[in-house]
């Protein structure tokens, strides 16, 4: 009898547990929120009589950890406060992995109200399934072309612009001028060709430091060199013709040979790994973005920005502010107004001065802005942005143009080439066949 009772209790507990687990407690998940946005306007999620526009971003960091995040949150909150009494409430929502949030929604044929992809590409599925709004008519109607800058051309997909990133992912390099001088090496501003760079790296190695961070860093060299050799190829989806082209072969072999001389100990798939070596004077050149300007505060070394050989730079927009196509008219209106706000001179100035990023707005005179402040980081950032913005060849990044899997495959193959004695021709052949299969 006792056993029977215990069995009954256990069985009931398990059933109850399962039912609770599968129960309908509705937390405020993005999925739940999005369901609301898909509903007709009158049924949309509302606070009293107001609708809500949820804006997902990834500036989750504590101010002490990354002050920039607090600045961005403040920018968002100011917009929210300014529209607190309007028909739609603007609600910034912090998530750690904004791409994952969006991807999960997209997999179900939906899209969050509004998202800042922070440089990650807008998933193709969102575009193909027409889940996101074409921003181009609004940009044209409001005359915002110069405010959104290169977003207008780089994010053009068959005549439509689905995303605008308020900051550019501008990539060049940083170098320690003291180390270059000590080694008697030509500095990046003197590199007319990749041979010049290779010679400089050799001189640096002879002086006891290593030249640069390879892997993700040298992929950027490949990216830039490829654009110098064949700008058209870098601006379009990858094709077998490009993979087998002379430009591709030259760019890869040139960079791979430099990487091998540089050594595999200095190759990883994360350029950030080398920040400490660079600031400690072990690495002479750090292939990284302009945003790293803030990393050199208090350093005695003379750190300067540079661009890649052949006057090349990378300025990608990536994905940024992206709006769901299933919003109500009022929500959509506010979302577009937010886009205008984020690309306005006022906010873009804050992005430059306080976030220390390269703003997308082309109407700003960055050097003039930097002169007006007594902040060495801003001055260095202005210098880096001006250099990159005035490069002869400015291209988007490989990930944006050719896809993340292609980007990773190139990095991996360059890393493999950096091992002493590796047959670069054989690795190139492997890469070519891998890429042809990947795009198939």
């Amino acid at each position: 009898m006792k056993k029977k009772l215990i069995s009954m209790v256990l069985a009931l507990t398990l059933v109850a547990g399962m039912l609770t687990g599968c129960g309908g407690a509705k937390e405020e998940t993005p999925a739940a929120d999005n369901a609301a946005t898909e509903a007709p306007a009158e049924e949309a999620e509302a606070t009293g009589d107001q609708e809500v526009l949820k804006f997902y971003h990834a500036y989750f960091h504590e101010e002490s950890e990354w002050p920039v995040a607090a600045v961005m949150r403040d920018i968002y909150q100011q917009f929210a406060d300014a529209h607190a009494d309007g028909p739609v409430v603007f609600e910034p929502v912090v998530v750690e992995d904004v791409l994952q949030v969006a991807t999960n929604e997209i997999a179900g044929g939906e899209f969050p109200d509004m998202v800042d992809f922070a440089g990650n590409e807008v998933p193709l599925a969102a575009i193909v399934q027409e889940l996101v709004v074409d921003l181009k008519p609004y940009i044209d109607a409001e005359g915002l072309q110069s405010k959104v800058g290169i977003n207008y051309t780089m994010n053009d997909v068959d005549g439509k612009v689905y995303t605008v990133h308020d900051q550019l992912t501008t990539l060049g390099l940083w170098y320690n001028a003291d180390l270059y001088e000590a080694a008697g090496a030509a500095t990046p501003d003197q590199w007319a060709t990749y041979e010049d760079m290779a010679t400089a790296m050799e001189a640096l190695r002879a002086s006891g430091v290593y030249g640069y961070n390879a892997g993700q860093g040298s992929e950027r060299l490949f990216n830039s060199y490829m654009a110098v050799l064949d700008a058209e190829a870098m601006a379009n989806p990858l094709t077998p013709e490009v993979i087998n082209s002379e430009a591709f072969v030259t760019a890869f072999k040139t960079v791979a040979a430099m990487d091998q001389a540089n050594g595999s100990a200095h190759s990883t798939n994360n350029a950030g790994d080398f920040g400490a070596d660079f600031t400690e004077g072990k690495c002479a050149t750090w292939m990284n973005g302009v945003w790293a300007a803030g990393s050199f505060n208090g350093l005695e070394a003379n750190i300067l920005p540079g661009i890649y050989p052949c006057s090349g730079a990378i300025a990608a927009t990536g994905g940024g502010l992206t709006i769901s196509a299933s919003l109500s008219d009022a929500q959509k209106e506010l979302a577009l107004e937010f886009l205008k706000y984020m690309t306005s001179d006022e906010v873009q100035t804050r992005i430059f001065l306080e976030v220390n990023a390269n703003p997308c707005n082309q109407d700003l005179d960055l050097e003039a802005l930097a002169e007006g402040v007594d902040n060495p980081t801003v001055k260095l950032l202005a210098q880096a942005c001006s250099l990159a913005n005035s490069a002869d060849s400015i291209t988007t990044n490989t990930g944006s143009a050719w896809g993340a899997d292609v980007y990773t495959a190139i990095i991996n193959k360059l890393i493999e080439c950096s091992v002493e004695g590796t047959d670069i021709d054989a690795k190139l052949a492997e890469l070519q066949s891998e890429l042809i299969a990947l795009i198939g």
Binding site: S7, G109, V128, A265, A404, L438
Partner: protein
């Protein structure tokens, strides 16, 4: 209602939640993986996977087996890691469990030290090993350079060596399985050891002829766990090499296709998943056969 039918009802009720959970969380996803491996399902039709035409049902399999550049590399690595798990991890775990079971001084301390890494996630362990192998400041690099001062490369990028570097990042962490074996060893009746002692089986013989045969069912379980965890290896690959230099695993390429690829190739990823399930089942089957053969020969010996 008689006693027997009452018992059946209670047993059914008791098993029902587990059965439902199995159907919802295991059987359905497995079925979905198998079914969608015959579909076109990528960024163009995420909401509506569609079957390929009858004559082209195997399109995804054809792509994965004949065109996708990383499949065979990943399969080879995953199978090798599964084998390494069986050949190295299981004997090691058994030895550790037997030694700890002796109740020597500090054995409790040793047991706890051995178990602690098991409660750390493999992702965290991956990061730890990334530091250990760091070519610029990692201790492993320095040890290698003691013996070979000319070695300047990153061990994680040297093909062949990096396979073993990844092995070392997971193969020694088997605290959970050691505890399983330890529990089984402690369950062996002391009388059996006493009888063995009278028959002259002491020291190593005692372990070979008494302990190991008696814990064989648990060894089988531990072997299955070691083989499957090696076969499913992901975190170590992701953190240590990100798949570079010939180190991709089956789990890694599934993620590559489904998540990393801008084209969200769910169906192709599921095709590899389907192959993974089939090979996983074969692995488990082979382990069962190996252990059941031992049983037959044991019986034969008795006869």
């Amino acid at each position: 209602m008689n006693k027997k039918s009452n018992r059946t009802i209670f047993m059914t009720l008791f098993l029902l939640p587990s059965c439902l959970c199995f159907l919802i969380f295991y059987a359905y996803p497995i079925l979905q993986i198998l079914v969608t491996s015959f579909c076109k399902w990528d960024y163009t039709n995420l909401k509506n996977p569609t079957f390929f035409p009858a004559g082209e049902l195997l399109t995804n399999y054809q792509y994965i087996l004949t065109q996708y550049p990383y499949f065979w590399e990943a399969l080879r690595n995953s199978l090798c890691w599964a084998l390494v798990g069986v050949v190295i991890q299981v004997p090691l775990t058994l030895v550790v469990a037997i030694v700890i079971s002796k109740g020597l001084k500090f054995s409790k301390f040793a047991r706890n030290v051995y178990i602690v890494p098991s409660v750390i996630s493999s992702a965290a362990m991956g990061l730890v090993f990334l530091q250990l192998y760091n070519a610029r400041y990692g201790p492993i690099q320095q040890i290698i350079q003691k013996f070979n001062p000319e070695f300047k490369d990153s061990i994680l990028l040297v093909e062949g060596a990096n396979f073993w570097a990844i092995v070392c990042a997971y193969v020694f962490f088997c605290g959970t399985t050691a505890i399983m074996l330890l529990g089984q060893i402690h369950g062996i009746a002391p009388e059996l050891y006493e009888a063995a002692k009278i028959d002259g089986a002491t020291g190593l013989k005692r372990e070979l002829y008494v302990t190991i045969p008696l814990v064989k069912p648990t060894i089988k379980t531990v072997t299955t766990m070691a083989a499957t965890s090696g076969f499913l290896l992901y975190n170590e690959v992701f953190f240590l090499t990100n798949g570079a230099a010939g180190t991709k695993s089956i789990s890694f390429i599934i993620r590559e296709l489904a998540i990393t690829s801008s084209r969200t190739q769910y169906a192709r990823a599921n095709t590899i998943g389907a192959i993974q399930i089939v090979i996983g089942l074969i692995l488990v089957g082979v382990i069962n056969i190996i252990f059941s053969e031992s049983k037959v020969s044991q019986k034969g010996g008795k006869a």
